[in-house]
């Protein structure tokens, strides 16, 4: 069950994967303090690596801008509570 309301800002993920991303973020927020962005990011990245294969990247915070190259269908940017979440697969050999 999602706590608070997640708002997807941009994505090219399948709806199913989107739900997984937001659920993973919500779970991470249950486990870690909102200020521990690195642990939150690590939780989500590891989840996605284990379920969808290696090479996922995750950025969590309240103030950041970024540019990146991602695989098709593997990018989502959403807000949950006071944080913004960016998850993408940058390909991994």
């Amino acid at each position: 069950m999602l706590e608070g309301k997640a708002m997807v800002k941009e994505t090219d993920m399948s709806p199913k994967m989107q739900i997984h991303a937001m659920a993973s973020a919500s779970q991470a927020l249950d486990l870690y303090d909102v200020y521990d962005c690195i642990s939150i990011a690590a939780h989500i990245k590891k989840e996605f690596d284990s379920v969808y294969g290696n090479g996922w990247q995750c950025v969590v915070g309240s103030n950041f801008g970024c540019y990146f190259t991602h695989s098709s269908g593997t990018f989502i940017y959403f807000a949950l509570e006071t944080l913004n979440f960016l998850i993408f697969k940058g390909t991994s050999s």
Binding site: K46, N54, V59, N63, F64, G65, C66, Y67, T69, S93
Partner: protein, 133 residues
């Protein structure tokens, strides 16, 4: 003989003073450089030339922006594009004052530094050939 010794002594002192001045100037330049760039490396797995490239690129762009007006996305874009074109794809860049991240990067392709009051994460991932199916 006494005149010759005095001349040698004078020349020796002159050379020593020249060397000392040169050292002082070099130290001052290095200090000015670090002070001006205001860069601190927080974590790194990247050859020095690439690091210097990132710092210089970030410094130049920040200097060209209006004071106290940070454009995180523009800085991230500039760094990513410069590194993509110079060192091959695919680079990713995150810029901001408040974020945490957890990433997997290529060997030798990772630097996390602060410049002024902004933090920059620049890293590279391997690129797989496109699947032509």
């Amino acid at each position: 003989m006494e005149g010759a010794e005095e001349e040698l002594e004078r020349r020796s002192k002159f050379l020593k003073s020249l060397i000392q001045k040169k050292k002082t100037i070099e130290q001052q330049e290095q200090h000015d450089h670090l002070q001006h760039n205001n860069v601190r490396v927080r974590a790194c797995d990247m050859p020095l030339p690439l690091q210097s490239r990132a710092f210089r690129c970030a410094r130049d762009l920040l200097d060209s922006m209006p004071p106290k007006k940070l454009d995180s996305k523009r800085l991230a874009l500039t760094l990513k594009k410069e590194f993509d074109s110079s060192y091959g794809p695919a680079w990713h860049c995150i810029v901001g004052t408040s974020f945490g991240s957890y990433v997997t990067h290529s060997l030798g392709g990772f630097v996390y530094f602060s410049i002024d009051k902004v933090y920059v994460l620049l890293f590279k991932t391997a690129v797989e050939p496109l699947d032509h199916s």
